[in-house]
């Protein structure tokens, strides 16, 4: 390895262990984030469907609610176990991080624990209580599941925001001398990141569900030109869009707010996102290979001539890796823009009182965007995590100093990779068979 030249064996092992630990953490979070998003948004869909059924008496909505509840059960369980893995991995892989950060970020984690508890309890009531509790109580149970899922996301993302822009921790001579967990929770990035994550969850899941049903509707059109009514898929599509449209349209606004917060509080990350080598006024913006003059200055600081800090302003050992952050940011922005566009298109069709199910090109666009939200989420996650490097707590603790001294970390990394690949395959086939039963 060229990069490892000049290191002795011990240093090379330590570097490999650090990479393995980072890979395992990235894999665990990258896996969990998809299930977390679905766990936040899917219960809302299922409650909406049940509510429509109770209001209209249309049995198709009941069928939808039951099917979505089934999907929620599978995805929630996988989200719950992968979340459990994460809470342990914090100590297994990053013990020094937890020794330092535990007193601050433990509080939001504890609150998240209770939100998760509530979610699990009422999901049990919802899934197994159709005949055991009153209709009102059943609907309420579903609503509580949806709300506590969102609350979990709120607390967990507060922790991530704290890692980006730590607050409420005073360190003197390498020792923590004072902590203020409330200030830590309300750190400068918390609000923007929480909003961005919640919108991402609703937009990604809503569009994924819409895309699946759009695909089925489209295929059936091809088979039978006169077209059956397909109320199941039509209702499913419309409910999914009810969630997807507002969140996908609001997401670019939230993204803009987030970018401005990054510009203010994490200049090195912004420089990596835009691959800006040197500090300059009137910095341009890149979107999908097109350069917009002064765009970055304008967007980040609301001033076309504003000065944007470049990478060279930071010491070499405090610069994040540029290529992955830059590419991931491009992917997120482009996919987010496409999602907003297609949702805007669907909203226009609906506003004119037309049937989306009769618009093959719109259906095709929706079907193509099925995985878009999740890919954008992974990309956004990469931006915020890789863009923070080399720090695990911005400016306070380096990732390399937080890793466990346990050697041979490649082994658990490979084991968890295999477990996650296996789980992903099984979940995919379970969902495919759930959808297949209706298609």
């Amino acid at each position: 390895m060229a990069g490892a030249a000049g290191l002795d064996d011990g240093e090379r092992d330590a570097l490999n262990d650090l990479l393995a630990a980072r890979a395992q953490m990235a894999l665990s979070l990258g896996f969990h984030i998809v299930f977390a998003e679905i766990g936040i948004a899917m219960p809302l869909l299922m409650v909406l469907a049940e509510w429509r059924w109770r209001r209209s008496g249309d049995p198709v909505y009941l069928q939808l609610a039951r099917r979505w509840a089934k999907g929620t059960a599978i995805l929630f369980a996988v989200g719950a176990v992968s979340g459990t893995v994460l809470s342990f991995e914090l100590g297994l892989l990053w013990p020094s991080f937890m020794r330092l950060a535990g007193p601050v970020i433990g509080i939001p984690f504890a609150l998240e624990g209770f939100a998760f508890f509530t979610e699990a309890i009422f999901l049990g009531v919802y899934l197994y209580g159709w005949e055991r509790v009153s209709p009102r109580a059943h609907l309420m149970a579903g609503l509580i599941v949806a709300l506590s899922g969102a609350a979990s996301a709120l607390f967990v993302v507060m922790v991530n925001a704290w890692m980006n822009t730590p607050a409420g921790i005073t360190i003197e001579a390498g020792r923590v001398t004072a902590v203020d967990p409330i200030a830590g929770m309300l750190n400068p990035s918390a609000f923007q990141q929480v909003v961005h994550m919640l919108l991402a969850a609703y937009a990604s899941t809503g569009l994924a569900v819409a895309g699946i049903h759009a695909f089925v509707l489209l295929r059936r059109r091809g088979m039978d030109p006169s077209g059956p009514r397909d109320p199941f898929h039509r209702h499913a599509l419309m409910l999914a869009l009810t969630i997807a449209i507002p969140s996908a349209l609001l997401q670019p606004i939230s993204g803009d707010m987030s970018a401005r917060a990054v510009a203010r509080w994490q200049p090195a990350k912004l420089a990596a996102m835009e691959a800006l080598p040197d500090t300059r006024r009137g910095a341009p913006l890149h979107v999908g290979g097109i350069e917009i003059p002064r765009g970055l200055s304008l967007l980040a600081f609301r001033d076309a001539d504003a000065e944007v800090t470049g990478l060279s302003a930071f010491p070499a050992d405090e610069r994040p890796p540029v290529a992955p952050v830059f590419v991931a940011f491009q992917v997120m922005v482009i996919l987010g823009a496409l999602m907003a566009l297609v949702c805007g298109w669907a909203a226009t069709v609906m506003a004119r009182g037309r049937q989306i199910a009769e618009r093959p090109r719109l259906l095709a666009a929706l079907a193509v965007l099925t995985p878009a939200g999740f890919i954008a989420t992974e990309a956004g996650w990469t931006v915020t995590e890789v863009g923070r490097q080399p720090w695990v707590i911005g400016g306070i603790l380096r990732t390399a100093d937080a890793v466990t001294p346990m050697p041979g970390l490649a082994i658990p990394m490979v084991v968890f990779a295999l477990v996650y690949i296996g789980l992903a395959a099984v979940v995919a086939s379970a969902i495919a068979s759930l959808v297949g039963e209706t298609a």
Partner: protein, 341 residues
């Protein structure tokens, strides 16, 4: 250090809450793992219906039961971050294996319930993971109790891989505690299932299993106690010294067995839960004031007071919501399990 004096302050209160959460996890989540054990050993003419009963009594509540473990972990890393860091470092390997057990148990259970094909394979994964997880949980507890974790932590960077990362847990005493935990969970599950069963045949099946597990519990406890004399002398002394707790444990164990024998299943359930809880508290009190004996006491490992205060407030508020929600869940489902014949 004031060895045995009981000073009660915020750190002790938070530690007690953590112990209560661990107790709740053992009584609920532990029994769910025990259910998996009996799924693996389902036998006789009512084999399929034993499995169905286990699945139906676990299904609505296991997710909620599992969260107790998360509460324990979160309170540990918030309230006692130094202890969390030390345990996570030295016990990396058994914790990782336990985690994989947790992942497989949980996902196998839902795939078996909801997936449409290859049910039997998921059943096996569920059952095997239900054995691995409690075994490792017990091994971890055993390793902590011996004091070897603290000794290994002091050797990090100096000692060998085997000495630091294997030695504390890959030993006879921790393994005996692992088997003890497995037997206890199986005993709890079988006792609970005698109450959940809605027909005499199934009830008899689980009564016989509970009595068998009670014998195994006794054998494992004896083995662990003999091993503890050399492996964990402090613990052995502490456990043996707490006569009141020992007497109460023995009394509840005898009550559970007699009640099972005389088919007083509801009494047996309460006595079994009391027995398991008393064993847990016996261990915890024996190693007081240490979280990781003999390096980190509750006070040494405690987070700053402001964090502990907030944590205590958060836990109290959370508990208020939780208790009413849990009561609702249990009232909705428990004691009304029906197995289709």
């Amino acid at each position: 250090m004031n060895g045995m004096a009981f000073t009660i302050g915020l750190p002790e209160v938070v530690a007690a809450v953590m112990a209560i959460a661990l107790n709740a996890y053992v009584l609920t989540g532990g029994a769910d793992f025990g259910g998996g054990v009996w799924d693996l050993f389902a036998s006789g003419p009512r084999r399929d219906r034993q499995r169905a009963l286990i699945a139906e009594s676990i299904a609505p509540i296991w997710e909620a039961n599992h969260v107790w473990l998360i509460v324990v972990i979160v309170v540990l890393f918030t309230g006692f971050p130094a202890a969390f860091a030390m345990l996570g470092t030295v016990l990396h390997i058994p914790l990782t294996i336990m985690l994989i057990g947790i992942v497989l148990r949980g996902s196998a259970f839902v795939f078996r319930s909801y997936g449409s094909h290859r049910r039997s394979r998921w059943g096996t994964a569920f059952a095997v993971a239900s054995i691995v997880t409690p075994l490792l949980l017990g091994i971890i507890v055993g390793a902590v109790a011996t004091g070897a974790v603290a000794e290994a932590a002091a050797e990090i960077g100096v000692g060998t891989f085997a000495g630091v990362f294997m030695g504390p847990w890959a030993a006879a005493f921790p393994v005996s505690i692992g088997l003890f935990a497995l037997a206890l969970f199986a005993f709890l599950a079988a006792t609970y299932l005698t109450v959940d069963a809605d027909e005499d045949g199934l009830r008899d099946d689980f009564r016989a299993r509970a009595l068998l597990a009670a014998v195994l519990v006794f054998a494992c406890a004896l083995a662990a106690l003999l091993l503890a004399r050399s492996a964990a002398p402090r613990l052995a002394m502490g456990v043996a010294g707490a006569l009141l707790i020992q007497a109460a444990t023995a009394l509840s164990a005898i009550t559970a067995i007699v009640a099972l024998w005389r088919r007083r299943f509801r009494v047996a359930r309460i006595a079994a839960a009391a027995q398991v809880s008393l064993i847990l508290w016996g261990w915890l009190l024996a190693q007081y004031p240490y979280i990781v004996p003999a390096a980190l006491s509750i006070r040494d490992a405690a987070a700053p007071p402001v964090t502990l205060r907030l944590l205590a407030v958060g836990l109290a508020a959370g508990a208020a919501v939780l208790v009413s929600s849990l009561r609702y869940l249990l009232r909705t489902f428990k004691g009304r399990v029906r197995v289709a014949p």
